[in-house]
């Protein structure tokens, strides 16, 4: 018996990667309209709305005022880049509880045209953040926070920079088929290793792109989904978790994905070998490596061996991942990658991915998002999605 009845029925990724001439709320509007059109619905059908910290002004109040719609349910769960993965689960539960029928989730941002990297935000934490005085003086850029995880992983497990580089190689192999990808050139392990060191042991090409853009999703009641043009997707499993410094007792060798992934697998009854495609949050190569271990695709410490030799490349490896090129090569709008992770999983399950990277007969996919920073505090959200039987 399925635990969730609501269906994921619409998805839209903005094609832009640079939008200096558009306002933030305009981008939210364009992705909202794209997603309702994809689902065969209208913005006026939406009675549930989900957004996070990237939304302008007072979040749903400002955006819904601009849209001129008055949904009866809103949720602004904020767990950084993983928010939108969690929103899918929250939307499905709200619908199943009768709180709304058609839920819209939006994300948009312009960090590229506004020259706002995630680091510039991290280094300007407001005074009331409890951790501020004990971190900001030390210059914890976002790459540096993830580098602390990578360095410890290498120390404990013998993971190498070459192994991390294979993750970028796989993403770039996929990105060459995505005409919207910011980086469309396939790169080699050597290209990654010879790119400038940003925060050792992470090189420039171990990092994701910084892009303008956004995306949106529609979740709807099962009875409504049945009548739409495209088949809805089942939400078999969901999981959420947070992890932090544990008051000083921090362990950098694993992420909250260890907990969110277990919840999602337990709920779904799906086994790892049934997952045909995985969207794995890829702010950095080390993010992917740790998540693959934490989600249980390999044992702790074995991620390096798992990703080497192209195992993440569609058509070649055991676990095709991020076939749009992911955040590492295609898109990381608003410095938050969760939305685009869900969207590419939808493409795969609908058979709408590029033919060169489409997983044949893809029926079950996993989506995993991370938000915040693995090196300090972060949220994780996991979804297991499937086609209708």
């Amino acid at each position: 018996m399925e635990k969730l009845q609501a269906r994921l029925v619409g998805a839209y990724e903005h094609p832009t990667r640079f939008a200096p001439d558009k306002s933030l709320v305009q981008l939210h509007t364009e992705v909202a309209l794209g997603a309702v059109a994809d689902a065969g619905l209208s913005l006026s059908d939406v009675d549930g709305y989900f957004c996070a910290g990237d939304a302008p002004g007072l979040g749903p109040l400002s955006v819904l005022d601009y849209f001129n719609i008055t949904p009866r349910y809103v949720d602004t769960t904020e767990t950084g880049g993983s928010s939108y993965v969690a929103h899918v689960a929250h939307a499905a539960r709200a619908i199943d509880a009768g709180l709304c029928d058609i839920a819209l989730i939006t994300l948009a941002g312009k960090p590229r045209s506004e020259n706002k990297s995630a680091s510039s935000v991290a280094l300007a934490l407001p005074a009331d953040r409890p951790e501020r005085d004990f971190e900001v003086p030390y210059g914890p850029t976002v790459p540096a926070n993830y580098a602390l995880c990578a360095a410890r992983h290498m120390h404990e497990f013998g993971t190498t920079s070459e192994q991390l580089a294979w993750i970028k190689v796989a993403a770039s192999h996929h990105a060459q088929y995505n005409p919207h990808a910011m980086l469309q050139k396939a790169v080699t392990v050597e290209d990654v290793l010879s790119s400038p060191m940003v925060a050792s042991p992470l090189h420039r090409l171990d990092c994701c792109v910084i892009t303008d853009g956004g995306g949106a999703l529609i979740v709807a009641r099962k009875e409504i989904a049945r009548d739409l043009a495209k088949p809805g997707l089942r939400i078999l499993g969901t999981g959420e978790a947070i992890k932090h410094q544990s008051a000083g007792d921090i362990d950098l060798t694993f992420s909250a994905g260890k907990w969110s992934g277990k919840q999602a697998f337990d709920m779904s009854g799906v086994t790892h070998d049934q997952i045909q495609y995985a969207s794995i949050y890829d702010s950095f190569t080390i993010t992917v490596l740790m998540e693959i271990e934490d989600l249980g695709f390999c044992k702790p410490g074995h991620g390096g061996g798992f990703v080497a030799e192209g195992n993440l490349i569609s058509g070649r490896g055991k676990l095709p991942f991020n076939t749009d090129g992911g955040g590492l090569c295609s898109n990381h709008p608003a410095n938050r990658g969760g939305m685009t992770k869900v969207i590419e999983a939808v493409r795969q399950l609908r058979g709408e991915a590029h033919p060169a990277v489409q997983v044949p007969d893809c029926k079950i996919a996993l989506v995993h998002g991370t938000g915040g920073s693995l090196g300090t505090r972060h949220g994780a959200a996991t979804l297991i999605l499937a086609c209708e039987d």
């Binding site: 580098a147 360095a151 120390h155 050792s200 410094q245 000083g248 950098l252």
Partner: protein, 134 residues
């Protein structure tokens, strides 16, 4: 060699004031619970392990061990710096910088000792330096 950075001004929350005052005297103190005996960092107004309010500031010898570190390239014309987590007491790690060192020769597990540098406003900031270079 690693170089001197400008350390931003800490806002100094009321509950952490004794930590900063001790730093100005060149001392590293750890907020420690009198009930469960565990220390924590950053300092809170309650013990985050057992939720007791009965806490004391324990001075340490300032020695620690590098748990992880990264050499950060800040920009083309800016000096590199080393960000790290250092274990400053049993199960207590602190984010910090490693200074007065050759960044390329550092290793995880290396013993380090607390040193202090003044921020722009004259507040001492807790940093660490390899033991052997002292």
């Amino acid at each position: 060699m690693s170089t001197t950075r400008e350390y931003i001004h800490p806002e100094i929350s009321p509950e952490a004031r004794p930590f900063w005052d001790a730093a100005n005297e060149g001392k590293l103190v750890i907020h420690t619970c009198r009930d469960c005996g565990r220390g924590h960092h950053y300092p809170r107004a309650m013990c985050p392990h057992c939720y007791s309010a009965d806490l004391e500031w324990k001075e340490t010898d300032g020695h620690g061990e590098i748990y992880s570190f990264s050499v950060v390239t800040a920009g083309k014309d800016l000096p590199r710096y080393v960000i790290a987590y250092v274990e400053i007491a049993d199960r207590v790690k602190a984010m910090t910088n490693i200074v007065d060192c050759d960044p390329d020769s550092l290793r995880i597990g290396q013993r380090v000792k607390a040193v202090f540098r003044r921020s722009k406003t004259g507040q001492n900031i807790l940093l660490f330096s390899p033991l052997e270079s002292l």
